[in-house]
Symmetry: C2
């Protein structure tokens, strides 16, 4: 076992992914992550200035996976793609609640411009652009539509994870999710 680890920065993020996948945000601590990697707690501080920074790095890794899951559906017209993107977002949140919590509650307020660069948002934007081209969405309504759609799917995920929908069975959750997504899409094109 060498004194130097080799690539501790990414090893810490990998351990953080494992831990937060099961235990959510609270399980993602400096001491537990370094313990998992087999290194002293303060070794983390050579790569991240504090816990928040480590969590941000883990959050970025999670957002990349979310984007991978969301960009897989690219068939049909704009509205169909928008529906798929929205449901994928909710599916990811319900399938990986720990990761979802780290990605969105890891205390990292990003700017709208930075959000627009994120692949997950790009998929949403592409579907909306397609709708505009097809004449299914007024160009003047496009900008607002993105936030309305994001708000609905994000809020639904929250209700299903930490809110009153946590107790309903999974298939009912999916049905309600589809209803919510269909509602915003219908409302946005009106």
């Amino acid at each position: 076992m060498a004194y130097h680890h080799g690539d501790l920065a990414v090893a810490l993020v990998d351990a953080g992914l494992e831990l937060s996948r099961e235990g959510g945000l609270d399980a993602l601590t400096i001491r537990e992550v370094t313990r998992r990697v087999g290194v002293s707690p303060n070794a983390a501080y050579r790569h991240y200035p504090n816990l928040a920074a480590l969590r941000e790095a883990v959050s970025d890794a999670i957002l990349a996976r979310l984007a991978g899951a969301m960009t897989s559906g690219e068939a049909g017209d704009g509205a169909a793609r928008l529906r798929t993107v929205g449901l994928m977002y909710i599916d990811f949140a319900l399938a990986e609640p720990g990761w979802f919590a780290v990605a969105f509650f890891g205390s990292r307020p990003i700017t709208p411009e930075a959000a627009a660069q994120a692949p997950a948002f790009r998929a949403l934007a592409a579907a909306l652009d397609a709708m505009v081209e097809e004449g299914a969405l007024a160009p003047s309504a496009r900008a607002d539509a993105a936030w309305s759609c994001w708000a609905t799917v994000h809020g639904f995920a929250e209700l299903a994870l930490h809110g009153p929908l946590a107790a309903v069975p999974a298939e009912e959750q999916r049905r309600l999710a589809a209803a919510a997504v269909d509602a915003v899409i219908a409302g946005v094109r009106a």
Copy 2:
């Protein structure tokens, strides 16, 4: 100064309301709340079994205030009332972000039945029922509509507080909130 406080249980909740109003969930700790009241940390354990229980009590107090803010608007037809209720929810979240965080992220998954009893939910339900009576909403769509609406306003609040909309100016936030609320309402009646 008497040895016994008199009504420590409510005093702890009041202190918790003060603390969380400014510092959010993280500021709501056993040690700080008891310090604020002027009592030893372990005195709290005579009234609440642990920190989570104290946070739930504070959460309940906050939800009561949210309900008070939401039930104030009762004019117009069902759709107008629904719009008002939704915007009030978002206004509350933006005006009191610390309280909003405690109320909804204090780790207390409530059942759908319990949620239906909450006054805040009653206001939403009443507006939807009015729409059904007016023929503006199909009775079969009523149940799903409640969750779609809640998801949208809750998600928007989240985006505006901890997400990419945190950086946009307040009046733009309000405009986007109105657009999102109008979108779900339009989608729900379609």
